[in-house]
Symmetry: C2
Subunit: 309 residues, 2 copies
């Protein structure tokens, strides 16, 4: 059976150490806790979607190393279809060491680039894209993202892009994207010196629905041509790693429900807030009722009070 969401992008293995405070240079710090987890924008979004009950398939690339095995085992254990996961015989998987300040939500990511060939968009991938309802992309493998977006556009599959940073091929990719959900950094790189609102308006000229995520300040989107800010839910943040990835999962979930935009953004914000309360990019949510419970308790109106019924 075809997956409802096909994700194409990066996957990695993260080791996240929690500290009380970010230390000065040249010091030794005992970790409060060390957590190992899979990461990567698209891979993490798919894991969360699988937990929310959506059938998902991942197309990405790993090396034949310890971390590659950990990435693959973990995705499969989470219920992500990995039949399109590609392996470089001599390549190296992407890994990261992350130091996160417990309670402040600040973190430093030290990452090692994957070594090997790019993601191959072959006939099997093409078939999977055409059969899916949504193609979720990050823009970390330019060639593969462009090829996949073109296939999706031709096949009528909805495209969602997680834009982390503006890249050379972003301008080529954007017209192929139906839902563009970008970081504040992306927006600021798009229109240097301008406020996110201005970048949002300008990005919308590519034809897609545009949202800019602003971390603890919520997110900005365009409703009937006007910028609207949906606030974030206040939480005691333990680690913000992956909050963006999880927001994308919530966004895609909402699209599949055909909810109105503001409802989608509230749901996505709730997913990100639940995530921020624990370490690692995949801390939460674990189940769909966890998100609805959170929304019923914290959403400003009563839209969500019986959402799970």
């Amino acid at each position: 059976m075809a997956a409802r969401v096909l994700g194409l992008g990066q996957c990695c293995w993260d080791r996240i150490g929690l500290v009380r405070d970010w230390p000065g240079v040249d010091s030794k710090t005992e970790l409060l806790r060390l957590v190992e987890q899979g990461g990567g924008p698209v891979a993490t979004a798919l894991v969360v979607l699988a937990r929310l009950g959506i059938s998902v398939q991942f197309c990405g690339r790993i090396g034949c190393d310890t971390e590659g095995r950990l990435i693959s085992d973990d995705l499969q254990a989470e219920g992500v279809d990995c039949s399109l996961l590609q392996r470089d015989a001599r390549g190296r998987s992407q890994t990261a060491m992350i130091i996160a300040e417990q309670g402040r939500g600040r973190r430093n990511v030290f990452w090692q680039r994957r070594q090997g060939d790019g993601i191959q968009v072959d006939e099997r991938v093409e078939t999977a894209i055409a059969s899916a309802e949504i193609l979720l992309l990050d823009d970390l493998d330019a060639e593969a993202a462009l090829a996949a977006a073109r296939i999706a556009r031709a096949a009528g599959t909805l495209t969602v892009l997680d834009g982390g940073s503006l890249r050379p091929h972003s301008r080529e990719l954007l017209p192929l994207i139906d839902h563009l959900v970008v970081s504040e950094r992306f927006a600021r790189q798009w229109l240097p010196g301008a406020e996110p609102e201005a970048a949002l308006m300008d990005l919308a000229r590519s034809g897609g629905q545009v949202t800019v995520t602003l971390g603890e300040r919520g997110c900005l989107s365009l409703v009937e041509g006007q910028p609207v800010r949906v606030p974030a839910f206040p939480v005691d943040a333990v680690d913000t790693t992956g909050c963006g990835d999880v927001f994308h999962a919530g966004y895609v979930y909402g699209l599949l429900q055909e909810w109105p935009l503001v409802k989608i953004l509230e749901f996505a914000s709730a997913c990100a807030a639940l995530k921020a309360r624990g370490p690692g990019g995949r801390f939460a949510p674990r189940r769909i009722d966890e998100v609805f419970d959170f929304l019923a308790r914290h959403a400003p109106d009563d839209t969500w009070s019986h959402a799970e019924d």
Copy 2:
């Protein structure tokens, strides 16, 4: 056949990421390189001694986890006798994530404590201590270090202590130590507010030969009752992780050769300098001729010019 040096202390698995500069909080940094290596003061010293051609045996403790397997495999591959390595069925091995600034020698260590029982000093360990010429200790497992030092003293085995920080049991342990090689931190904790020279004189009252290592400023020791500073060899430091551990290996090597003290300290400094030129605690030295070559080229006098003959 009994090992000439028995080491008792900590072992761990280090993941060392090299960066150009230490980043500010809340940033993402691509690693120049990621290196994985075994670590721990005594374990690293034994690895280097094995490379220098000395028979060594390690008594320490690991968990039944991936890192425990990596630690044990690595020690054995380096030629360290691991027949006294102890495993906690449900414990966790000690691990560290280290971020090192390439070229500056500064580094931040983020470590996770081992979980499990203390090192057991049983009859097999007692026999090994009595059969060895030198017992090398760190002071990270107080009870085991004290028990081992008492056995060594009774059996006439020479004791060398790597003192990293002053600990509650340090005052009990010191009188059992023949060669005390401590960090500058240890010295400053021993006599707060005093210069290392004063701490050195005071530490010597415990009866052992005392040396204080001062990083790039070399080391201080007592020769005929007077503090003498042996300068470090200038190097372009890539990563100073493990320089102290490697210094101890050189010190123990020199003791086994029955060299005079200053010669021992020069040799130990050369080992530490070679180590500083690469990432990870066990980067160098790899062979005894590497140390002699370095000394022949860099030592201030011609003591070492034909040392390898």
